[in-house]
């Protein structure tokens, strides 16, 4: 293996991960060492050579897709900061994990935006939350918090205003059992804290240009907004964060020439709820309901990615039972139902955006209600299912699905569960999809508005780390369920939806095909559920440990969620017995990273198209901002 560079047995772009690492080592001796911490994988690259090594990884080794780039603060565990990158091949296969370390005092790591444009927002996030600088980054501004915020909040030594203790459960609550309101302990009676040297006199700038400051627009806002002169016909248009078409609290700042968009800058963070900071104080189990609230349209899918990541870590330990077959089948069923909900919702609101205001979406919401009834009966909640557990599930299917609401106009529900499912999967949902296709697929207005609009080429889609229907709509057949399979997907029969054109219409078509493929999967799940009836959902017949001790190590669990690749990077820094709280908990959010190419996709189109283009990406702000 040492001499792979001299005589490769297989072409380098398809060599196994180990071979790839060996090739890198022979190519860059001294710059690369294996990451030999217990439970860690991949290589550690000397920051000075990072860009070169990344070029080789992408170009020669064929890892063309940068899935995730995130920072970890190892305060007290070596006292350094680390950037962790996961690169994949769009041809399929596992990750090449590489890392670069820097000191905490003055952290800086060269930017990889010149290699993968998909690193853009992720590096900005690392700067915002960890204070790592990225020399070479074109626009290194804060992305989730606002410019001027005090400190970099994800650092381990940064404390929030309502700080109580490092880790949950807090002493006061358990076993102490004292409840208090954090407001009462804060001097200001609010969730705020200020540096002692705060200068209040400088803050009162409320001029119009302040609204656009700190965005790095690359345009002179003052000049453009001066409408007295005739020499300018460029205009800055602000959309959001309150705008009916931004799917939540998302903001776009466009520069337009006439009606044509010349540049677009997405602005986010209006729903930044500090998921990761809270997640690192939480125990592993605590985090499951929090994942529900990421992409709140498909909470089951979020659960799945997270439990996969933690299970991956737990499997490193001694006592770990993988989930049973029935459990896996149930998981897949829930996830596919979520995907259906997600795509119906996405298509419905995209139609809103291109002008079919609220009529189509009402029909899709109707269908969603049906699925939510089922979730409610199984998991206890319509939207926030909190259903999966490490190594199992919250519960098996109930015998019957009963009405829980007592609305007088709500027909009383009492169905046999399997019958309900069979009817829903075999009749109702296919009927809805047929109807949807009948009315929309050849609809002249839909075609007129969406064909050749918002085009993203295949190369760009890969390079910008686009995922999900956005990637597949550009002709890249990359679906994690096939490319890097998990759960029982390998034995299920389904096709990857892919369209070549890369426009809005292609994305719509991908979603419709995926709806049909999901139904196909569900049809295969039904007999599997019948066959495993009575089998436990837990490996040894009873629920696993309430508070698992997770062994030392790192894991990256990813799933194909409705919106694209959802990944969880989890680090457990436990001692000998493992730890019950994650040291690092990072969410690779498809909604966030899919926005990286938005600016590029929008250039040259009309303002009215922008709304549709955003809708065709399908974002949800809970996940974008986390």
């Amino acid at each position: 293996m040492e001499n792979l560079a001299a005589a490769p047995e297989q072409p380098i772009e398809t060599a196994s991960i180990d071979d790839a690492i060996a090739y890198l080592k022979s190519n860059h001796p001294g710059a690369i060492k294996l990451d030999d911490r217990a439970g860690y994988e991949g290589i550690i690259v000397d920051p000075d050579h990072l860009v070169d090594v990344a070029r080789v990884i992408r170009g020669e080794l064929g890892f063309d897709y940068l899935s995730s780039a995130t920072a970890v603060d190892y305060l007290g565990e070596g006292d350094h900061m680390e950037m962790v990158y996961h690169a994949y091949r769009t041809g399929g296969g596992g990750a090449l994990v590489f890392k670069a370390q820097t000191d905490r005092e003055n952290p800086a790591i060269p930017s990889l935006t010149s290699v993968w444009r998909g690193a853009d927002f992720q590096e900005r996030e690392a700067w915002d939350l960890y204070g790592i600088r990225f020399p070479g980054h074109p626009n290194l501004k804060r992305i989730l918090m606002w410019e001027g915020f005090h400190g970099h909040p994800m650092r381990k030594d940064w404390r929030e205003a309502y700080y109580e203790e490092e880790l949950k459960p807090f002493d006061s609550r358990w076993p102490g059992g004292h409840v208090h309101r954090s407001e009462e302990k804060n001097v200001f009676g609010k969730n705020v804290n200020y540096p002692t040297d705060i200068d209040l006199n400088r803050l009162m700038d409320s001029s119009e240009s302040a609204v656009y400051e700190s965005l790095g627009l690359g345009v002179d806002v003052e000049r453009i907004m001066d409408k007295d002169g005739f020499e300018t016909n460029e205009l800055v248009v602000n959309m959001g964060p309150h705008h009916p078409s931004t799917h939540g609290v998302f903001r776009m700042v466009l520069t337009v020439d006439g009606e044509t968009v010349t540049s677009l800058e997405p602005v986010m963070g209006y729903l930044h709820r500090n998921h990761e900071k809270i997640g690192e104080r939480n125990t592993y189990l605590h985090n499951i309901p929090f994942t529900d609230r990421l992409d709140y349209i498909s909470s089951m899918g979020n659960n799945h990615g997270y439990v996969l990541a933690v299970e991956q870590l737990m499997s490193l330990g001694r006592k770990y039972n993988p989930p049973t077959y029935r459990c896996e089948a149930l998981r897949v069923m829930m996830v596919e139902l979520s995907r259906i909900v997600n795509h119906l919702w996405a298509i419905g609101f995209w139609l809103n955006d291109i002008g079919a205001f609220f009529t189509p979406v009402l029909y899709f919401i109707q269908e969603r209600e049906r699925i939510l009834d089922f979730f409610e009966a199984v998991a206890g909640s319509r939207m926030m299912c909190n259903y999966m557990r490490f190594g199992g599930l919250f519960g098996d299917l109930p015998e019957r699905i009963k009405s829980v609401s007592n609305l007088t106009n709500d027909r009383v529900r009492d169905y046999n569960t399997m019958q309900f499912l069979t009817e829903m999967i075999n009749e109702r949902i296919p009927r809805t999809i047929d109807e949807l296709e009948l009315l929309l697929t050849q609809n002249e207005i839909v075609l007129e508005r969406s064909v050749d609009v918002g085009v993203l080429s295949a190369e760009d889609a890969i390079n910008y780390s686009a995922a999900g229907p956005l990637l597949r709509g550009s002709g890249v057949a990359y679906d994690i369920r096939r490319a890097d399979p998990y759960s029982i997907y390998p034995e299920l029969d389904f096709d990857i939806a892919v369209e070549e054109e890369g426009d809005m219409y292609a994305r719509y078509r991908v979603r419709v095909t995926e709806l049909r493929e999901s139904v196909r999967i569900l049809r295969q799940i039904l007999p599997r559920l019948e066959a495993t009836k009575g089998e436990s959902i837990w490996a040894d017949g009873k629920p696993g440990a309430y508070q698992p001790r997770v062994p030392h190590g790192e894991a990256y669990g990813r799933v194909e969620n409705g919106k694209g690749e959802l990944g969880y990077y989890v680090v457990s820094a436990g001692g000998r017995g493992g730890s019950s709280n994650p040291w690092r908990y990072h969410v690779r959010a498809p909604s966030f990273i899919n926005l990286t190419p938005l600016g590029r996709m929008s250039q040259g189109y009309k303002v009215a198209d922008i709304v549709g283009i955003l809708g065709s990406i399908d974002i949800v702000l809970g996940e974008t901002d986390r």
Binding site: A161, N191, N193, I198, Y296, L362, I365, R368, R382
Partner: protein, 293 residues
């Protein structure tokens, strides 16, 4: 909404029987309220997960139009009701207050879900506002995470009941029937952390006192005010000692200042001292315990 004159007819003035279906004699307040409660247009404005349930409530299965919430308007200038449907972040509260100021009076705020009511699951997050009522007056709180559509409908109907009880005669009840329009709510500013303009003076004072404390405590690098307060507590049996020996530390009463604002601040100061005293007490106990062992 069906016109129900009997319901509206609320005086003892007799209406001839043959005119009962055509004429009602009622008070002006009641007529106003009746009109307002039945044409309450919410603002089309979603914040987070709760917004999805709000949309579900608006859609055909639950359909809040049945109760007079007719149609959601995208512009605040056409809306009567702001449903704060989700987590309010510091970054977002600035536009929210601006939107509220842009709504014409009479206007109402409904806090939907745990987040909007008090911070919810994300309360301790550094970018999260612990409840909409820290910045705007809230009329109805709907618990849940997310509240089911039924719960939201219930909350909206509760708001209608509230409107029913309002009267023009009582200016405090419905300030917009008074003279002129109300003062706009001051819009928060994004500084090192979010700044409520109403707290400007307090922040300045706290910053000054924290700077003094830093010197007194010999602290160097604690950047934030509350951390200095905490550090004071660390060193501060001192705080307990500073109080006269016979004071019940948990019941310190401070003289209250003149303005309501001052008063609120004093109460907070009192709470703070209590917390410090409690902490000192606990430390003493722990020390005693350690000695015992």
């Amino acid at each position: 909404m069906e016109l129900n004159l009997q319901e509206l007819n609320a005086t003892e003035f007799p209406v001839p029987v043959e005119l009962e279906d055509n004429i009602a004699i009622t008070s002006l307040s009641q007529l106003y309220n009746w009109g307002r409660r039945n044409s309450m247009w919410p603002m089309l404005f979603g914040l987070a997960c709760c917004a999805i349930e709000m949309i579900a409530t608006a859609s055909s299965r639950f359909d809040f139009s049945r109760f007079g919430f007719e149609v959601m308007r995208a512009t605040p200038r056409q809306a009567d009701l702001m449903i704060v449907s989700g987590t309010v972040t510091k970054k977002m509260v600035v536009p929210i207050v601006r939107l509220y100021n842009q709504m014409p009076e009479p206007k109402y705020v409904l806090a939907m879900g745990a987040c909007a009511s008090g911070g919810g699951p994300f309360k301790e997050g550094y970018n999260v506002v612990s409840g909409m009522d820290k910045y705007l007056p809230v009329d109805v709180y709907v618990p849940g995470c997310p509240p089911t559509p039924q719960a939201l409908l219930y909350g909206m109907i509760a708001l209608q009941r509230k409107i029913d009880g309002q009267s023009i005669a009582n200016g405090d009840d419905v300030p917009w029937y008074g003279v002129g329009s109300a003062e706009p709510t001051p819009v928060p500013v994004l500084g090192p952390d979010i700044i409520d303009p109403r707290q400007m003076d307090m922040i300045r004072r706290q910053a000054e006192s924290a700077a003094r404390d830093m010197e007194a405590l010999g602290l160097r690098e604690l950047p934030a005010i509350t951390q200095i307060v905490a550090a004071k507590a660390e060193t501060a049996e001192a705080v307990a000692e500073a109080l006269p020996a016979d004071t019940d530390a948990l019941n310190v009463v401070l003289p209250t200042g003149g303005t309501p604002w001052q008063e609120a601040e004093d109460i907070r100061e009192k709470r703070r001292l209590r917390a410090l005293a409690r902490k000192a007490l606990r430390a003493t106990r722990r020390a005693a315990q350690a000695e015992g062992e």
